[in-house]
Symmetry: C2
Subunit: 225 residues, 2 copies
DNA sequence: TATGTTAAACTGACTGGTCAGTATATTACT
DNA sequence: AGTAATATACTGACCAGTCAGTTTAACATA
């Protein structure tokens, strides 16, 4: 039965992440994690020298997944069109798809969870969260900046990076919304609404928005973790 | 020094709220609150039978302030114009003003904080948070619904309540943003951007958005709590 | 005398963390 | 092949400290 420590470690982190999203880090005891993961107390401390080390490991794994998802989605968007504005729009469409399929909107965002317990963590954790914001800015904001150079925006003085920040904010807001109302569909609705706003801003003429698929049928590729 | 129990109670709640926003409720000990409020341990339990009672009192006070602010701002907006769309836009403009003046964007939203520790609280607390969302929906969503009946929206199938929800979400997102980057101006920027989107959606023709004041000069009235 | 406040001592549950020891599987030795 | 050695994975009891909450006795104000 024994012999794969890596798997156990992941199980511990899975259990921890789920509980942190539900009650916060401080209120999640080592005992509760250990029990949920189906291991003993000693095993926990064998894998993690302290509870704080677990906190860091969990958020680092989360940040890495996040990075992977963003990069993957944008790469896919880029392979589906050549115009930067389309890249941005398809990127958001793919994101919408991910939320629709995984229903991740109910769980919430670990960055936000940590942020509301910021006093418990060190600067390294803060840096991870800020890093996630910066990646988003580079990825989506950069595309919108390029889009602005080609397409006229209906609002003058449009700052593409403010748009990107706001998109990130919409996601965060939708997470809280989805959690509070136990309704994962909010995630999808809000992302879609934001994309519609972008289309309006750039005068992309989809005369009837309708409820049809907003992403080319071509992409059946599974979304990453 | 002694003699006003109500004031002491408020001081306790102030200290608690500040600490909860910084590290979350679970990580905020009674001792720490008591020390920050400058009172003794006995006094704390004289005013609050338990820590949970404090939690409820703090969120109830917060919900009441929130309700007061929303109602106040919308009432003021209504006194400044007669069109429901203008009511909605001025409402958001006034909100922007509040955030600009108070710098409340750095602190964060107590609803969100509680939401990310939801497992610790009972249904009454959940109900308060949901109630705040519903008030927002009624207040802003109702206006936008009325606006849609008079003004054509550039996007068909526009649901005014989705717009209202999304505005709430933008606020929540901006709170997290402001906290994480220690930049209260995000609050203002995001609200303004959202309002611009609404103007675009309803084709309100401000040909040059510019940086001029977006709210009539007439209102010097102080914003509520 | 009512209410508000203090200070300190105490309880019991629970916390993060330690530790001595056990089990399992791989490798090394003969 | 058989056995000893070893690194990794895991266990459960235990410890010291912190937590929320209680109790008690005194004191201040109005």
């Amino acid at each position: 039965m024994p012999r794969d420590g890596a798997k156990t470690k992941q199980r511990i982190m899975d259990a921890a992440q789920a509980q942190v999203l539900e009650r916060g880090f401080a209120a999640t005891s080592v005992d509760a994690i250990q029990e949920a993961a189906g291991i003993s107390r000693g095993t926990f401390f064998y894998h993690f020298p302290s509870k704080d080390d677990l906190a860091r490991a969990v958020i680092e794994r989360y940040a890495e997944e996040d990075r992977g998802l963003v990069n993957d989605l944008m790469a896919r968007a880029e392979s589906l069109a050549s115009d930067p504005l389309q890249h941005a729009l398809i990127f958001l469409g793919l994101l919408e798809e991910v939320f629709r399929e995984t229903g991740a909107g109910e769980a919430g965002c670990l960055f936000a969870s940590y942020s509301y317990e910021a006093g418990l963590f060190d600067e390294r954790t803060d840096a991870l969260i800020i890093g996630s914001i910066e990646l988003w800015r580079r990825t989506l904001g950069g595309k919108l900046e390029a889009a602005l150079e080609r397409h006229p925006a209906k609002l003058p003085d449009t700052d593409p990076y403010v748009l990107a920040d706001m998109a990130y904010g919409v996601l965060q807001g939708a997470f809280i919304f989805g959690r509070t109302l136990s309704d994962p569909s909010v995630m999808v609705t809000h992302v879609r609404q934001f994309r519609s706003f972008l289309e309006l801003l750039f005068e992309v003429g989809l005369p009837t928005e309708s409820t049809a698929s907003t992403v080319p049928d071509a992409l059946e590729r599974k979304s990453s973790p």
